[in-house]
Homo-oligomer: 226 residues x 2
DNA sequence: ACGCTAAGGTGTACGCCGTACGCCGTCAAG
DNA sequence: CTTGACGGCGTACGGCGTACACCTTAGCGT
């Protein structure tokens, strides 16, 4: 019996793009070698001819997704450049919601990662930041430079909205959380910590940090003597 | 044959403390129901009489560890209070290195979590922060409020230090990373992004953010009209 | 003292996972 | 036409979480 001629052969690239698509639609937890193989209409072990193991698969997926980011484009000044770059990274992370978790458990020193960092660092250095300040500034941006922060309130698997009486109980037990969330008088409006504009929060924090950076740089910040 | 009388019975508490200790010494990945059971000298299924499943086990571990943090103690002003609180949380996270990863994949709305947030939010509100500003400020602190950030450079499983010739290659490919890391002239001093004082970086970023917060609050920050 | 009941530890078994290893069909280069 | 490498296949192993039925034990009311 001849093999189905319509089935084109596997390749590392085909495996990785399929994996990315699979993760995009079914979530990271659904990605297993067996299921991915089934998705490609192939036996599990066939994948191992193209990726050495599952870790390598995830590495490849991350690299592939990160590549969508393209080269850095300069804006009017360092601030605009950095801001745009980080917001672009955030968009990418929102497109591939599995990517954050993958990056978090991955070695940082892959070429793609380093290239990304290098391009950001270059912006600061070209703008006259000292190496020391640049260093701390990159740390301060932390994971925000990757377009994400572990938000305080965003829940990996959100609970069902609490019932009204639960809400009342909650707002008694944690009055400040409740007040801050604007749940005080009108209960039916928003759940605890939900209903807030994540994009706004991200930019608020980003600008907070960029302001601090600008302030230290223009004040000629120097490292403590230690 | 009588059962070993020295073996005291299991309890939820005994299971959880054993799990925490096990994770502390063997790492999170080593924690499996089977291994934990073996550690407690018991058959795997025995655990299920005390925790409903592995997720619940992790929940319990996180709660137990977080409980070490104790109640918030007020300092001179909101800034000192928040700073001390967050640095204490960071210490906790360093004591239980598995905790960060557990928190990252956990629902945020457990009582312990909410209580912790509530106590922090209370500080801001008592100091006259508007609810809106408090809200954004908590977001801006992001995971830093839990005592951790996904650092840009700290590697979940760090690679072996590169060889000298690799280092040269690296510093050519990523000149800005290299320069920032101070690898420029003297190669043997520090690896890329390593050899920096994590505690200092954490506090630098924290103070950057606290400065920004203080600035916005004293300027009477108000939410945009949208 | 007795037997009931519920709580807690046990044993077996199932379906999933990643992946080592050996086989075999296909196809291009010699 | 031969040969060898490449790529897909089949089988198998050990580990995981956990459903379910069973048995032991402890504590209780009578």
């Amino acid at each position: 019996m001849p093999p189905d001629p319509a089935r084109e052969r596997l390749s590392r690239e085909r495996v990785l793009t399929a994996a990315v698509a699979f993760a995009d639609t079914h979530g990271l937890d659904a990605v297993s070698m067996r299921r991915l193989a089934a998705d490609l209409d192939v036996v599990p072990m066939a994948l191992y001819k193209h990726v050495s193991d599952k870790e390598a698969l995830l590495d490849g997926m991350a690299d592939l997704a990160l590549a969508e980011l393209g080269p850095l484009v300069d804006q009017d000044d360092w601030r605009a450049t950095v801001r745009a770059r980080i917001l672009a990274a955030r968009e990418l992370l929102l497109r591939h919601r599995w990517l954050r978790r993958v990056l978090e458990t991955r070695p940082r020193q892959t070429p793609t990662m380093l290239a990304y960092l290098d391009s950001l660092i270059a912006v600061f250095r070209r703008s006259g930041f000292s190496d020391a300040l640049t260093h701390h500034v990159m740390h301060a941006l932390g994971s925000r430079a990757w377009g994400f922060t572990q938000e305080l309130f965003d829940d990996p698997n959100p609970a069902p909205p609490p019932s009204p009486e639960q809400l009342i109980q909650l707002s008694q037990a944690f009055p400040h959380v409740a007040a801050m969330a604007g749940v005080a008088g009108h209960v039916d409006e928003s759940v605890v910590g939900r209903g807030c504009d994540d994009q706004f929060e991200f930019e608020f924090a980003l600008d907070l940090i960029l302001d601090g950076i600008a302030e230290r740089q223009s004040a000629g910040w120097e490292p403590p003597v230690r």
